[in-house]
Amino acid sequence: MDITNYVVLAAVLFAVGATTVLLRRNAIVVFMGVELMLNATNLAFVTFARMHGDLTGQVLAFFVMVVAAAEVVVGLAIIVTIFRTRRSASVDDVNLLRG
């Protein structure tokens, strides 16, 4: 098997994640899509680390995880706050930027 299969898998997962972000309206699911995308990149990082024999890829993946964790914390807090005020977790209901 070619190691690039992992990268292709990562690409597919990334695309699925992106599509989730674009198509789902529930903020939490949208968030999950974001997480999926992050994980996909992590997989790519790990694969490239292995491919090049360089640990930096794993280090980057590690940082991505940490930052993702931070992001999730803040993001979910925001979702909770929005939900409290609007009783809704749909991203379409938050359209105050409408021109």
């Binding site: 292709v8 999950m32 997480e35 280090v59 914390v73 939900f83």
Partner: protein
């Protein structure tokens, strides 16, 4: 490192071909399931599988971290929030923004095609593998630790700060500002005194009845007049209609009531004190 330092074992190949399709399916579940909880479960599956792949790819430390952080922490957080927001809530999958579905699908497929195409057409070096490059042959976590706390120590610290900040940020964001004055004991007492004319009682409510035949939360006590006291039963039970009738309804065997009088009043005082 040697050019041909890595041979992908058959086991790994099998593992990959078993796991990868399942992962893709689970990921697609994210797109298609109606309930957010199910989506979360799909994601959990993807993440655990991802951890397996990490381990398979000579990144055991990351694999463990993946399980701990993502499935252990992040996804739990998701579930908590889902519970806050409402587990039952299921999404309607009908699109409200005109054209968004097609645009989204197009972009998704396009991304997959482009990324896949790039990967397919890119010239990668022959895979090196990590084992060959390990100086001194230390295990992966140790090697990673060297890099992390050696070359990337500053970034490590910064990320630490980030995490703390994020935690504080989440606290601030979810903090509810108190809009009314704090209800301390005195305020509660005052409120109750004020509410006296409206028929609220000052004393604790009577406890449910304790009878020889039944001694349960759902049975009202009897007052000194022998009438049932509805307030003695929990409000929830009353509303649900799960209240039972007292064994000695008025008008039946008053004598029995009087003989048990002392016992009930004792029980009532002890409960009131408690």
């Amino acid at each position: 490192m040697t050019p041909a330092g890595l041979e992908i074992t058959t086991g790994e190949t099998v593992l990959f071909w078993v796991i990868a399709p399942l992962m893709v399916l689970a990921a697609l579940g994210l797109l298609f399931v109606k309930r957010a909880v199910h989506a979360a479960m799909c994601l959990v599956f993807v993440m655990v599988s991802m951890a397996i792949l990490y381990i398979a790819q000579e990144a055991p430390f990351l694999g463990v971290v993946q399980v701990v952080v993502y499935t252990g922490a992040v996804m739990m957080l998701f579930l908590f929030v889902l519970m806050l927001v409402g587990v039952d809530a299921s999404d309607s999958l009908t699109e409200t923004i005109r054209g968004q579905r097609w645009v989204g699908l197009l972009i998704g497929i396009g991304l997959a095609v482009i990324l896949g195409g790039v990967v397919a057409r890119a010239a990668f070096p022959p895979p090196a593998g990590l084992a060959g490059g390990d100086p001194g042959g230390v295990a992966n976590p140790q090697a990673l630790a060297r890099v992390l706390f050696g070359d990337y120590v500053l970034a490590m610290e910064a990320v630490g700060v980030l995490l703390v900040t994020a935690a504080v940020g989440a606290l601030v964001l979810t903090h509810r500002r108190r809009l009314t004055p704090k209800q301390d004991q005195r305020a509660v007492a005052d409120a109750r005194i004020r509410a006296l004319p409206e028929g609220v009682v000052l004393t604790p409510l009577p406890s449910p009845g304790v009878y020889a035949t039944s001694n349960a939360m759902d049975t009202p006590a009897l007052g000194p007049d022998g009438e049932q006291v509805p307030q003695s039963v929990s409000r929830v039970l009353r509303i649900r209609g799960q209240e039972k009738a007292a064994p000695h309804a008025p008008g039946t065997e008053l004598v029995d009531v009087r003989t048990r009088d002392a016992g009930t009043s004792e029980a009532r005082t002890t409960e009131g004190e408690a």
